[in-house]
């Protein structure tokens, strides 16, 4: 593995946590070093994989095409994504897809500071595919599993411990100690699956 740079794992995260991940950092001073967002549950993310419902697409570009897509997770929280001329495949998917549709998206987290000083977190998609409901359901359970695992590690870590995981430490410093909203988004997402299962059983 020493000769090939390892590819970044695509993190699974619900929109509420993703949109709160406004703190970005690099691991080295190199201009081309990857930029990470820090997830509030204490893990760095340079790539995400998400599946949800594409509810709206819009060309928000002024001179050239610049497509915005809104993808909603089971809690009703929204991932925003933007694709322009440098993401031609993703841009053409957003141009062509008719919402609503289930889509899976592989992409990079990007942050943008508004004039008001708020930091918006969005996805710059590498690829967008139209998928079926089974794929969406599998992602929801997977994202719930990975998020719970992060919460468990976060809760077990002691901020006073000098050997604490550096990203958990960083999350404590940047976002504080409260990860309860993210546990709630796990519960909410899984409950919505149960409801759907019961509804289809009736």
């Amino acid at each position: 593995m020493a000769t090939t740079p390892t590819r970044e794992v695509a993190r699974r995260v619900f929109a509420r946590e993703f949109n709160d991940a406004s703190y970005t950092f690099k691991e080295s001073d190199d201009d081309r070093a990857p930029v990470y967002v820090l997830l509030p549950t204490g893990q760095r993310a340079n790539r995400v994989f998400l599946v949800g419902t594409l509810t709206e697409t819009e060309d928000v570009g002024e001179d050239s095409e610049y497509w915005q897509g809104r993808v909603v997770d089971p809690n009703g929280d929204t991932f925003f994504m933007y694709a322009g001329q440098y993401q031609p495949d993703a841009a053409s998917m957003l141009r062509e897809l008719e919402p609503p549709a289930y889509v899976s998206v592989v992409g990079k987290p990007r942050t943008y500071e508004t004039d008001e000083g708020d930091v918006n977190v969005s996805v710059r998609p590498e690829s967008i595919s139209q998928v079926d409901e089974a794929t969406r359901d599998r992602w929801v359970v997977e994202a719930a599993e990975r998020t719970l695992e992060r919460i468990r590690r976060f809760n077990e870590a002691d901020p006073e411990d000098p050997d604490i995981d550096e990203y958990i430490q960083m999350a404590h410093e940047e976002y504080g100690d409260d990860v309860e909203p993210y546990r709630q988004s796990v519960v909410g997402a899984l409950e919505s699956m149960e409801d759907a299962a019961e509804a289809s059983a009736d």
Partner: protein, 313 residues
Amino acid sequence: MSETDLRTHAEEIHEQFTDQLDIDVDDVEERLDTLVNEYKVPASEARRSVVNTYLDEAGMERDQLGGGGGGNEQVDLADVDAPEEWVDVRATVVELWDPRADAVAQVGLLGDETGTIKFTKWSKSDLPELEEGKSYSLRNVVTDEYQGRFSVKLNRTTTIEELDEEIEVGDDSVEVEGALVDIQSGSGLIKRCPEEECTRVLQNGRCSEHGEVEGEFDLRIKGVLDDGQEVTEVIFDEEATEKLTGITLEEAKEMAMDALDTTVVADEMRADILGRYYRVTGPTFGRYVLADDQERLTGTVDADELLIKARSI
């Protein structure tokens, strides 16, 4: 052939017939001695011949013969875990390597359902040639160990019998699951160098070794499976690619011909498989998993247990 080797063979044969015939070890040894030392028959052939004589006398078929090569345990290759044990194995010759010393007649890799192991056959043992891809019953081989790795050595007393059945070789196959998050360049309809033993993928009609060549079409996908914790690079060969995408090599060629562009094939494949979940099994090759078998994960997943856990934190 030395006296002791003949004696070992004789004792083993005697052992095999002890329930059926009242034979004498010395008698067995004498018969072997005649064949080996007077008629210059190889030991394994002599043994076979002597065993056949006794089979006739006892009115038995060969497969009724118990005890293998003399009461050795028949072992699975994966279970070889100590040196200097006399064992019997049933295995396929996976590979033959070039012997680096004159003392070695053949060296290579044996495999059975449980795994693979190196074998060495000494020149002085005077044993028949093993052929790659064929399955054999090898009786009376000795295990050896070098730096924690085990091997088996064939020796003068080893008997080699080719099997009619094929022993399947299990490999160090792994199973990976995850979302297919990327299809890398060099996927889809590709051209390979036609030079013998080359098969390099051409870049703009050129082979990095043989220059400009008339390439041969092939299908391949280099994909990345990601489960949120680990990424695994997977290579699908022509057969696996066809199974994965439903596109045959012929269809891919037609698509490329219609579009006057080979990249349409990879684009079409991307649309069908990217962003979906798969389970792939196959052997590893460097950092790649070579897909032997694959399955799209479409079944429902159970959320109950996870929900209970999420509520209890």
